[in-house]
């Protein structure tokens, strides 16, 4: 059989579905990608590989591999191999650096990056804070890294896009199986302003053990990890742990002591994480003060009434009903003013018809 290097490399990546990266690295120490399949029998014996992986090494599904190669070509998905130009050095800090990465989107894996992560079930406060901090950070030119999960991950990506920043999303599944489904649209918008990154070939489904592995990449690719909200036992805290192991900075946003979504952040703060109230707190710690803050996009013109409404929302997000109750105008007018602020990009609707200043 005519086994090109490209084909065997793509075929190898499918091992990620059945083997940990550590064990794949063991294989790659003993054989280069083209040899792996011809020496399958020997490798399986030496490394005592589990049956699923052994099966793939003996008889890869070449049809699936070829389809994947074709799909990647038409979609412009790149397979970046460790050791190739553009493979970020910071990944070498890991004990198990990914032997390859699938990249989909604009740009390269270069430049200063900051991870912004948080719970999948944020409070309104969490959403507001995430959007506000990310908006400022993204404007400094920092790349915002996150995991495209529900909740604050998605919030971080969205806020970056809205502010014209650059963002990377690291997935726990292949590009044809973007998870969670409600963020598929976000993922595709994100491609034009950053990268989707995955260790898994496009057809691979998400699996529970993919996500801790994904978290290690989030930590490794960033200078620091900003935790906006994290519950008691959150995957987010795992990312913070990886960051500590790798010597990255850990930042945490404080919240109300009564909020279950802030328990994890407060624990990080007690352990010495840097407390973050504003973007400068992050930039200072990362010695990035010199990054010029891009000029704030000109504040839109607001009428006196819109100004008043903005003041009301400045402190905390409010529900529509509360806003109407506190404003001197009839409900119809208040709602109209809110829409004006929304369209002018000053205010955002949060789930359940709550509103917050961006």
């Amino acid at each position: 059989m005519d086994l090109t290097e490209e084909k065997s490399k793509f075929a190898l990546t499918f091992l990620a579905a059945t083997l940990s990266i550590k064990r794949i690295l063991d294989i790659l120490i003993r054989a280069d990608p083209v040899q792996v399949f011809s020496r399958a029998r020997q490798l399986i014996g030496e490394l005592a590989l589990p049956e699923a992986a052994a099966q793939w090494l003996r008889e890869p599904d070449w049809k699936k591999v070829e389809e994947t190669i074709a799909w990647c070509r038409t979609q412009g998905v790149r397979l970046l191999w460790r050791g190739e130009a553009g493979y970020p050095l910071c990944l070498e800090h890991l004990s198990d650096p990914p032997p390859w990465l699938y990249l989909w989107g604009e740009g390269t894996l270069e430049g200063a990056a900051l991870a912004v992560v948080g719970t999948r079930q944020p409070s309104l406060y969490g959403r507001q804070v995430a959007a506000r901090l990310v908006a400022e950070l993204a404007r400094t030119g920092l790349t915002i890294v996150s995991g495209l999960a529900r909740g604050l991950d998605a919030e971080a990506h969205r806020a970056t896009l809205e502010n014209g920043g650059r963002t990377w999303a690291i997935l726990g599944s292949g590009f044809q199986r973007i998870y969670p489904p409600e963020n598929v649209g976000l993922a595709h918008r994100l491609r034009s302003a950053g990268l989707l990154i995955s260790e898994y070939p496009p057809p691979i489904e998400p699996a529970p053990w993919h996500f801790p592995a994904r978290n290690r990449l989030i930590a490794a690719l960033s200078l620091g990890v900003l935790v906006v909200e994290a519950g008691e036992r959150s995957g987010t805290l795992l990312t913070a742990d990886f960051a500590l192991e790798l010597g990255r900075e850990v930042f945490a946003v404080p919240g109300p002591i009564t909020s279950p979504q802030s328990v994890g952040c407060h624990r990080l703060l007690k352990q010495g994480a840097k407390l973050v109230e504003k973007a400068e707190d992050v930039l200072e710690e990362l010695r990035l003060e010199l990054f010029p803050l891009a000029p704030q996009t000109a504040r839109p013109d607001l009428t006196a009434e819109e100004e008043e409404l903005q003041q009301l929302l400045a402190a905390a997000p409010l529900s529509l009903e509360e806003i109407v109750a506190r404003c001197p105008w009839p409900a119809s007018k208040t709602m109209a003013l809110l829409s004006m602020l929304e369209v002018k990009g000053v205010v955002r609707a949060l789930p359940g018809r709550n509103y917050a200043i961006l």
């Binding site: 529900r150 009839p330 409900a331 709602m335 003013l337 829409s339 004006m340 929304e342 369209v343 789930p351």
Partner: protein, 508 residues
């Protein structure tokens, strides 16, 4: 000589005259009914026999054949009892009269000879009047329904004896006096009022807009937020029904036997709240003998669907076409029945299966997958029927009711009525009546925007990621809001408010 009496068959809302012929000839004694009778009509043989006997007339021992013409139309229900009995008495010479000519007879008989009321008197009399019949011999119990039809002479009877005496000319029954319906609508009997609801200002405003343009609306909110309370009060701000509308609604109730005996006309708009376990036939209408469903019972009123996603999928899908066309069409092997269904649909749902998502009072225990499944139970095309998506915030009971102080329904109703009149006038020559019905060309024509408004809407569509459908919905709503404001052109603030009623705020 065979006896002949005119009666009527009801098929959906259309009524067809049926001749009841009885022939009594010599032969082996028997009593047969031909002409596609159903079980209830077959059983009328026993009732007729006993009623004739117990009223003191002769039930002849001979070969009796009853023919219900036209013979190819199915006949249902007990309304042929009285016509068969009278026809039989004519055939056997016990009544000698031609008084029954041009007289329409309906009624069920009891064994003792009492005449009982039947369903559908109002639609039958209306159609028969349209077909030229003027005199009706009807059960006294249901005669008030018939009196609603102008220009008819109604002769109420309560026993077979009275009916026979009337036909013989021995008894003069004065035609039923039609009640004076000119005073109709002057009696606002409202059991509830918006004034009783404190707070919920946004919800009240949204409901006002919804009623003004007859827009369908869906409310999302935790249990106990007051969704049902709000929905129940919507009928109190709708403009009063015209006499013609009231007749249409009463007809549907007449078929279902739901009209009251004393006051046959429904004067307040119907509010129907079917349970979410309702069957297809219960909701849309159906059965082998098609009967109206909840959709038609809510005609000219409000159809309130609580726990919206819990309704059976096929039931929800079946609502689509009737909502679009304003009528229900039920097709059966032997024909098609049509019932009216111009309703304002108000749906209510919880934000998640447990109901407490984003409720500060209680923690939600639903997983993201569960929540999505819950929302996905409602298909996209059904979502698109709702012009207004309303979120009802959780309020405590004291906050909700308290000592009131809200705007009374009458005030809101006044604004709504003005707005509806404006719409009716504008669309008089276009075959529609309300803003909710705008679409395609008419939408572009009546919701034309000036350039600054256009720019704003385009900006909004971009920033808020409006789909083409929500774009159109926003325009329609803005039209209604402008009408409430008595403005000919749609202005910026109208569009801005309309944007607040869009859907697509994620709860997951």
């Amino acid at each position: 000589m065979p006896g002949k009496v005119i009666s009527y068959v009801l098929d959906g809302l259309s009524a067809i005259p049926a001749e009841v012929e009885v022939d009594a000839s010599s032969g082996l004694p028997s009593f047969t009914i031909v002409g596609l009778p159903d079980a209830a009509v077959q059983e009328s043989r026993q009732r007729v026999r006993a009623a004739i006997h117990n009223s003191g007339y002769d039930f002849p021992l001979c070969r009796i054949t009853v023919n219900l013409a036209p013979a190819d139309l199915r006949k249902e229900g007990p309304l042929f009892d009285l016509p068969i009995a009278l026809s039989l008495l004519i055939a056997t010479g016990q009544i000698r009269s031609s008084c029954q000519e041009g007289l329409v007879v309906l009624g069920e008989l009891s064994l003792s000879g009492e005449v009982k009321t039947v369903r559908g008197i109002l639609p039958i009399v209306r159609r028969a009047r349209g077909a030229g019949y003027q005199r009706f011999l009807l059960p006294a119990e249901g005669a008030m329904e018939a009196a609603l039809v102008q220009g008819s002479s109604i002769f109420p009877v309560s026993t077979l004896r009275q009916a026979v005496d009337f036909l013989r000319g021995d008894l003069v029954i004065p035609p039923l006096e039609a009640p004076d319906w000119t005073a109709y609508g002057q009696e606002p009997v409202q059991v509830s009022d918006f004034a009783e609801i404190r707070g919920q200002e946004t919800a009240k405003r949204a409901l006002e807009v919804a009623v003004a343009g007859n827009h369908h609306l869906i409310m999302v909110g935790s249990p106990g937020a007051g969704k049902t309370m709000l929905a129940r009060r919507v009928v109190t701000v709708m403009p009063p029904m015209t006499f013609e509308e009231a007749l249409e609604v009463s007809e549907v109730y007449s078929i279902c036997g739901l009209l009251s005996k004393e006051k046959a006309l429904l004067t307040s708009r119907p509010f129907r709240a079917p349970h979410h376990t309702s069957s297809y036939a219960g909701m849309v209408g159906g059965g082998s003998n098609p009967a109206p469903g909840e959709l038609s019972l809510a005609h000219h009123g409000v159809l309130f669907l609580d726990e919206f996603p819990e309704f059976r999928r096929d039931v929800l899908e079946a609502l689509r076409q009737p909502l679009e066309e304003g009528r229900v069409q039920i097709t059966r092997a032997h024909g098609t029945a049509v019932f009216p269904a111009q309703v304002m649909m108000i749906a209510a749902m919880n934000p998640c299966p447990c109901g407490f998502r984003l409720d500060p009072r209680r923690e939600c225990r639903c997983g993201a997958g569960e929540v999505r499944r819950y929302w996905n139970q409602v298909s996209g095309p059904i979502w698109d029927r709702f012009d207004i998506h309303l979120q009802v915030p959780p309020l405590s009971l004291e906050e909700l009711t308290g000592d009131g102080g809200g705007e009374p329904s009458v005030a809101i109703a006044g604004r709504v009525a003005r707005c509806r009149a404006l719409e009716a006038e504008r669309y008089a020559s276009f075959g529609i009546r309300t803003n909710a019905q705008l679409g395609g060309k008419l939408l572009r024509r009546f919701c034309a925007l000036d350039s600054s408004e256009q720019a704003f809407l385009r900006q909004a569509a971009d920033r808020l990621q409006l789909t083409a459908r929500s774009f159109d919905r926003t325009l329609k709503l803005a039209r209604t809001i402008a009408d409430l404001d008595s403005q000919e052109r749609i202005r910026l603030e109208h569009l801005a408010e309309a944007l607040q009623y869009r859907g697509a705020v994620d709860w997951i």
